[in-house]
Symmetry: C2
Subunit: 337 residues, 2 copies
C-alpha cells in the first residue's frame, strides 16, 4: 500500500487557486446540506518552551474524504532559525479508511483561506463591485487578492493598508502584480495596486473590504463604513481577536462560515459579548447562500459581512484536490506504507 507525500513546493506546483475556490465552494455547500462533519478541536499550550499545538479534524462525506490537520506554533523557534509555524495534513478515503496522502499544511491553509474570504465577497458584494480594500499586508493578503481577482474580474483597483507599517503596505502593493503572475498565473496588468495610509479614505472609495490582520482591537471604525460595503472578516480566528468595530454588525446582513464557531472565536465573538448581535441576527452560513437556502445581499445599500474563521473540512477538500492534481501531473512522492 502506497500513500502520496506532498511537500509545500509540490503543492505550490500543483494546486491552483481556481481549484481551491471550487473545493471551498463545494465544502460550504455540503456543510449547508449537512454532509460534512467537524470533530472536536484538540489544542494544547506548551509552557517551556512556549508553544501551541492543535488538531482539527473532520469529514466531507460528498467528497469521500476525512482526516486531520495538526498545527504547531512555537514563537521561540524564530530565534533558533527554525520555522515558527509548522503543519501537517493527513487525508483518508472515508469509504475505506485507507490513508491517501500526507502533506505540508501551510500553503493549503493559505489557499483555502484566500478562497474563503474572496468567495464571501463574490457572493455578497454588490455585483458591480470593482474596488477592493485589503486590511493587512501580511502572508494572507496576496491569497485574498488572487482569489478575488479570479472570482470578480471587474475588480480594477486594489488598495492595501498595513495599520502598523505603512512602508510594508507600499512594498507589498508594489509587488502584487508580479506575485500574482508568478505564483498564481494571474494577469493583473489592468489592475491598479495602491498602498493606502488613510484607511477611512480608502474605505470611502472601496466596494469590498477584506480584513486579514491579527488585530486584537478594532481597526475599522463604524463611521468609515458606507452603505453597500461588503466586509469579509478573515483575521479573527481565536478568542480575543477583532478587526472591525462591533457596532458595524448592527443592521448589517451577516453570514458566517460556521455560526457557532464564529461566535466562539471569530469577529462575532466580541460583537456578541457587547450585545450588538446574537445568533438569531445571523442571516445564515455562506454555504446556505451557495446551496440556495438563504438569500445573499437583498439591497444595494445593505452592508454585508462574512465572518470566516476557517474549518478543517476546507483543508481536507483542498488537500484532496492537491493529491488529485499531483497524480494527474505525475508530481509528489509515493511512499510505501
Amino acid at each position: 500500500m502506497e500513500i502520496m507525500f506532498l511537500s509545500r513546493a509540490d503543492i505550490e506546483n500543483v494546486l491552483d487557486m481556481k481549484s481551491a475556490i471550487e473545493g471551498v465552494r463545494e465544502v460550504y455547500r455540503q456543510k449547508s446540506l449537512g454532509k460534512t462533519a467537524v470533530w472536536p478541536l484538540i489544542s494544547y499550550d506548551f509552557e517551556e518552551p512556549r508553544g501551541v499545538m492543535d488538531i482539527k479534524s473532520g469529514c466531507v462525506f460528498g467528497e469521500k474524504v476525512h482526516g486531520l490537520k495538526m498545527l504547531n506554533s512555537f514563537p521561540g523557534n524564530a530565534e533558533r532559525g527554525l520555522p515558527v509555524f509548522t503543519g501537517m495534513l493527513m487525508i483518508f478515503d472515508s469509504e475505506t479508511g485507507i490513508p491517501q496522502g500526507v502533506m505540508d499544511a501551510s500553503f493549503i491553509t493559505c489557499m483555502r483561506t484566500g478562497a474563503a474570504g474572496a468567495l464571501g465577497a463574490s457572493l455578497l458584494a454588490r455585483p458591480e463591485s470593482r474596488r477592493l480594500f485589503i486590511l493587512g499586508a501580511g502572508r494572507q493578503a496576496i491569497f485574498q487578492i488572487a482569489a478575488s481577482l479570479l472570482l470578480m474580474p471587474k475588480i480594477d483597483v486594489v488598495r492595501v493598508s498595513d495599520p502598523l507599517d505603512a512602508e510594508n503596505a507600499r512594498k507589498f502593493a508594489a509587488s502584487c502584480r508580479e506575485r500574482l503572475r508568478e505564483s498564481f498565473g494571474i494577469d493583473a496588468s489592468a489592475v491598479s495596486f495602491e498602498a493606502a495610509e488613510d484607511i477611512a479614505a480608502a474605505l470611502a472609495e472601496s466596494d469590498i473590504a477584506i480584513t486579514v490582520t491579527p488585530a486584537r482591537s478594532p481597526v475599522i471604525k463604524k463611521e468609515w463604513v458606507k452603505p453597500g460595503l461588503h466586509l469579509s472578516c478573515v483575521g479573527a480566528d481565536m478568542p480575543g481577536k477583532e478587526e472591525i468595530e462591533p457596532e458595524i454588525f448592527a443592521g448589517a446582513r451577516v453570514f458566517t462560515d460556521d455560526t457557532p464557531q464564529c461566535f466562539r472565536c471569530g469577529e462575532l465573538e466580541l460583537a456578541a459579548a457587547k450585545g450588538v448581535i446574537s445568533e438569531k441576527d445571523v442571516a445564515g452560513e455562506l454555504g446556505d447562500v451557495i446551496a440556495g437556502k438563504a438569500a445573499g445581499r437583498t439591497s444595494p445599500d445593505e452592508i454585508t459581512i462574512f465572518d470566516a474563521t476557517g474549518i478543517a473540512t476546507l483543508d481536507l477538500a483542498t488537500g484532496k484536490k492537491a493529491l488529485e492534481l499531483a497524480k494527474a501531473k505525475g508530481l509528489g512522492r509515493y511512499v510505501e506504507l
Copy 2:
C-alpha cells in the same frame, strides 16, 4: 525541512522488542510522575460503509515528543481485498513543534501492546514464574510472548488457547519458536509451546495468564484462577469487551495502565458495573510500581491483575524510538516538507 517516513517494513527492520519495552517502561514511569499528557480521544462511526476512525494524541514531556495516532477500521474492506485496519502515527518535537516523522502505526501498536502486557506480568507475577498462558492466538499473541520471554527468561512453558478455534491455537503454537527467531531474534529452543484446549487445565498449570482476545463475555472463570496467578488483561480496550469473570477482581491486587480509562473501556468497566470493584480498590497504575510509588505483589498467594487498555503516549515514545533507530541504521526515507 525534512521529515522521516517509515513504512511498516522499515519499522519491522529497525524496532526491536527490547527497545519497545524500554520505551513503554519509561512512559509508564513518566505518567506516574505527571510528565505525560493524553489529550481527548476523537472518534467517529461511519455508517455507509460502516467504519470507525479514532485519533489518539498526547505528549511525553521527558522524551520531548508529542503527536497523534490516527486509526481507521472498515470491516467491509476485507471483501474488497483491502486492509481492514490502517493507522498512521505522526511524531513532533515538543520543544519546537517541528514534525519529526510519519509512519505506519500497525506494527508499533503491536509492539507496544506486547511490551505492556509482558511488563505488567514481569512486575507483578511471582518472581519464580515460568509457565505462561496466552488466551487468544490472533495477531497480538506472538508480541506478548516475545516480550514475556525477554523480560522473564525463566519462562520455559507457553500454553496458548484460542477459545473459538482449537486448530488455530495448534497451528500458532507449532509456529511460535520459528516466528520468535525470525521476527524477534529470540532463541526459544528451551521453551515448550503447547496448544491448550482445556483452559481450566492450562490455567491450573500456569503462573501467568495474558488475555488478548476481542471477547465480549468472560472466557476465564473465577473457579479456574488459583492463588498466586498473575493476569495481564490486554484484549478489552473498548466499552463492552471483557475476557475474565468480574468476580476475579474481588480480593485481587489490581493495577491499570490508566485508571479512569480502564474503568471507561477496559476489563474493569464491566466488573465495576457489576459492583465487584471500584476505583478505590485499585492499587495503582503500573507506572506507580515502576516509579517506586506503589508496591507490586505483596504476597506469593495474591492474585494480581494488570488491566491494559493502551495509551497514545506509548505509541509516541515507541515511534520516536523507531525514528532514532532508523536514523542510526540509515533506514527510512527522508521526505522534504
